[in-house]
Assembly symmetry: C2
């Protein structure tokens, strides 16, 4: 015998198929006693609803929207590719994914897009966005309408996000700290920290984690203030020069966000490429190349493929009102060196 079906439940509980159906789908008009009898039969036979058949019968196609900022970073591109691929696969499981991008600086646009989605009858939303009041209100409205919301990469704890798919940024920073401390060895015990901007929750938390470890485990290493570049190579060059002049040479560089290409250029001009321990975040074509070339020593990353698949799985589970397999959805914080780079990408 294979798995029990509704028919088996009906026989076991001594009721009709219709009644089993009413109980399983919480339809009205069944006595409590009967409900209990059916549930007992379910428990006794170990019945699990065949979600595939259920969704087939419902004839429903899950419409799900994923929103990313339109920033042109390699990480976002990589993430979008992964989502695209996962979406294609998901289409064979009655799920239709709409990949949208919103103006990174215009949270009102994002809020409007979210409102439109709510009005258009979406059954799930995932997004990567900063937690501003406007966004928070829009998400709460979605939540109130019963639409599950998944925060990707950067958490949105105060916006009623149903689920967070991403790594613990503080732990990521701590990991970077340990590696920096140990890799520095006999080099100049001074570390420079560089970021494009400190507006993003992630960067702030990474920095905090990094500092915590450095203070606790490597008190002999001096860590400079965060140098903000705002994305411009010239700014990077300038702030680095000023910092080097003011505080002296450094043995390590910690890159909080993106900007690996610009850093390579400036380091090269300063004759420092490959001579300072360099640690950054996220696996992208640039960081992979940097690891292979040997001038980056380690990258702290999260698996974008995993993020994409996990996001879709969570949205599916929420729509089906099914429990989430926590252990499968828990993202690992990956340490990537040249030696354990994935075979090709």
């Amino acid at each position: 015998m294979g798995r029990p079906t509704v028919t088996d439940i009906a026989r076991e509980a001594g009721v009709s198929l219709a009644t089993v159906d009413r109980v399983l789908n919480a339809r009205p008009g069944v006595r409590d006693k009967t409900i209990a009898a059916v549930n007992e039969a379910v428990a006794r036979l170990g019945y699990v609803r065949d979600m595939a058949a259920a969704n087939l019968a419902r004839g429903r196609i899950l419409r799900v929207a994923i929103l990313l900022p339109d920033t042109e970073s390699q990480f976002l591109q990589t993430l979008q590719d992964a989502l695209q691929q996962a979406a294609t696969l998901a289409s064979s499981a009655r799920m239709q994914v709409e990949l949208l991008r919103f103006p990174a600086k215009d949270m009102h646009s994002l809020a409007m897009m979210l409102a439109d989605l709510a009005a258009g009858g979406i059954s799930g939303v995932a997004l990567m966005a900063p937690e501003t009041p406007v966004v928070r209100d829009a998400l709460r409205a979605l939540h109130a309408a019963g639409v599950p919301v998944v925060a990707m990469v950067s958490d949105l704890p105060n916006s009623g996000a149903t689920h967070f798919v991403g790594i613990d940024s503080h732990a990521a920073g701590r990991t970077a700290g340990v590696l920096m401390g140990r890799f520095l060895g006999g080099k100049t015990p001074r570390v420079m920290v560089i970021a494009q901007s400190m507006l993003l929750r992630d960067s702030i938390e990474r920095r905090r984690g990094f500092d915590a470890v450095m203070q606790r485990d490597f008190p002999g290493i001096e860590v400079g203030q965060t140098l903000e570049t705002h994305g411009a190579t010239e700014t990077l060059q300038q702030v680095m020069a000023v910092s080097l002049a003011a505080s002296g040479p450094v043995g390590g560089i910690y890159l909080l966000g993106s900007g690996h290409r610009a850093l390579a250029q400036v380091l090269s001009e300063l004759g420092l490429l490959g001579r300072v321990v360099t640690i950054g975040h996220e696996l992208t074509p640039h960081t992979i190349a940097a690891l292979e070339a040997g001038w980056m020593d380690a990258v702290i990353a999260q698996n974008v493929g995993h993020i994409a698949r996990s996001t879709l799985r969570v949205l599916q589970a929420k729509a089906d009102q099914q429990p989430i397999n926590e252990s499968q959805e828990r993202l690992r914080l990956e340490i990537i060196l040249r030696e354990n780079l994935p075979p090709s990408l």
Copy 2:
């Protein structure tokens, strides 16, 4: 309009449903020209088979067997737990998993179990086993019978294994080498390598990878011969004492396989616990505790949950004659420090 269905394909291609079915399921008796026409319609409409409905219609329950040695190691226990959990989940995807264990030293028993499975009409087999002639022949028989075979953790390249789920052991050894070299810093440049036995393919390849990196990148570090303990604490104590007396103190220890508990004991007795850089393999309760306690510095691991799910997915795909999503099945080689230990396990 929702997604296109077989009916849409039939209309678009100007053929009947039966013919579409014949093409989609690669049944004989269709002209090449007609096949092309159907495939074109499929491409034009962007048809993707609804696997849920397809599997429902097939009404088949995949019977799959997984074989593990009955060795009592924590890694195997962890792996078995992960497989158990994945199997429970897979049962809701019409797959029935039989978890079997075979006597680790008796390959003839294993071969007999495999033969029984083949006779019993199994639709897929996964196993973790050494590649001996007896096993190879049994696996080839399975392969000849059209039963897909998945090698787990340790590859079986010459036995016609359909697929390998696991990490590159040579790369794992190289990674251990890099970490050892960099973590050693100013410590005594001498490393001790310990293994329970060098019979397993994995251990050999790890050792080779480790040596390759040490020779290339850290020529100043002396790496000793592999000390084999054969699982006994007394032996470990003895060989370590002999080695220390003969070659002098060491700054690092590389543990190729299991035996973390015994090592902790001996190190503690020697007053070395936490004073030598210690690197090992696989995430188990013991290694997690060791990382948390701080006497192990790094663990090179593969995600057992991923192995379990990947194994079942691959078996499913093979049974469905479907292509495998390489990027999803590619296992990452994980570096675990205290700072990036998974939140609880």
